[in-house]
């Protein structure tokens, strides 16, 4: 499968364990849509946990990271456990470069 550069996401809800699968390039243009999607999931209530699945992300910069950290902040405000799914690749490298890889929770 060719990985598209177009940003997008898909929300999967399985007995209130929500998984948000993110695709494409997570940059400045993607930050706010990602935060809004997560906020809507959290605001809908009944959400027991959130996994932000970044394994389909083809590029991430600090704006994408900021989006992820804003989602985490929002989950914390709702007292909802928040984890990331990250594969080897651009996201893992960016988290390491930013020095934040060890401060995040992973699935």
């Amino acid at each position: 499968m060719t990985m598209s550069n177009l940003f997008g996401f898909e929300v999967q809800n399985c007995t209130n364990a929500v998984r948000i699968r993110v695709f494409g390039e997570a940059d400045m243009a993607a930050e706010q849509p990602l935060v809004t999607a997560t906020s809507e999931v959290l605001a809908s209530g009944g959400c027991a946990s959130v996994v932000l699945d970044l394994t389909g992300v083809s590029f991430m910069d600090s704006s994408g990271l900021r989006g992820v950290l804003r989602c985490r902040q929002n989950a914390r405000a709702h007292a909802v456990p928040f984890k990331l799914a990250v594969a080897d690749g651009p996201v893992a490298r960016l988290l390491k470069l930013a020095g934040i890889a060890g401060q995040l929770e992973y699935e």
Partner: protein
């Protein structure tokens, strides 16, 4: 590598321009090292985002990008017309959600910021001269 190649573009100060600039840089794929190209995409993304976020007043402003590749190096110049900005003195604290951009850019490139009456000019070179390849 003996070939030398360069291009320039003016982009609107809008978030979608960042992806467009990265796409343009990927045309260097046959000329430069793959790791250097990946780092250039990330550095350009950070510098351009910074110019759009802090160095512009609106999409009517444009940001000028120049890229040159040759002699095993890639040089980028990003010019904005906004107020003066300085690089952060230290990496953001653990609790911060932002402020990582220029630190990441400076860790992967040799980067300088200069100011003129017209705005800010950020010049970067990948790979940075004294730094080992970062990011694994």
């Amino acid at each position: 590598m003996s070939e030398h190649f360069s291009f320039s573009m003016h982009l609107p100060a809008h978030p979608v321009s960042v992806s467009m600039a990265r796409s343009a840089v990927r045309c260097l794929i046959s000329l430069v090292d793959a790791k250097d190209l990946e780092h250039t995409e990330l550095v350009l993304s950070e510098v351009l985002t910074n110019a759009i976020r802090h160095g512009s007043c609106g999409i009517q402003d444009s940001v000028a990008v120049e890229i040159a590749a040759g002699a095993g190096r890639i040089t980028g110049i990003v010019r904005d017309t906004g107020p003066v900005f300085e690089p952060p003195a230290a990496p953001p604290a653990a609790a911060e959600i932002g402020g990582y951009g220029l630190h990441i850019a400076m860790s992967l490139s040799d980067l300088t910021i200069s100011h003129t009456a017209a705005g800010n000019t950020v010049t970067f070179t990948v790979p940075g001269p004294a730094k080992p390849a970062a990011g694994g």
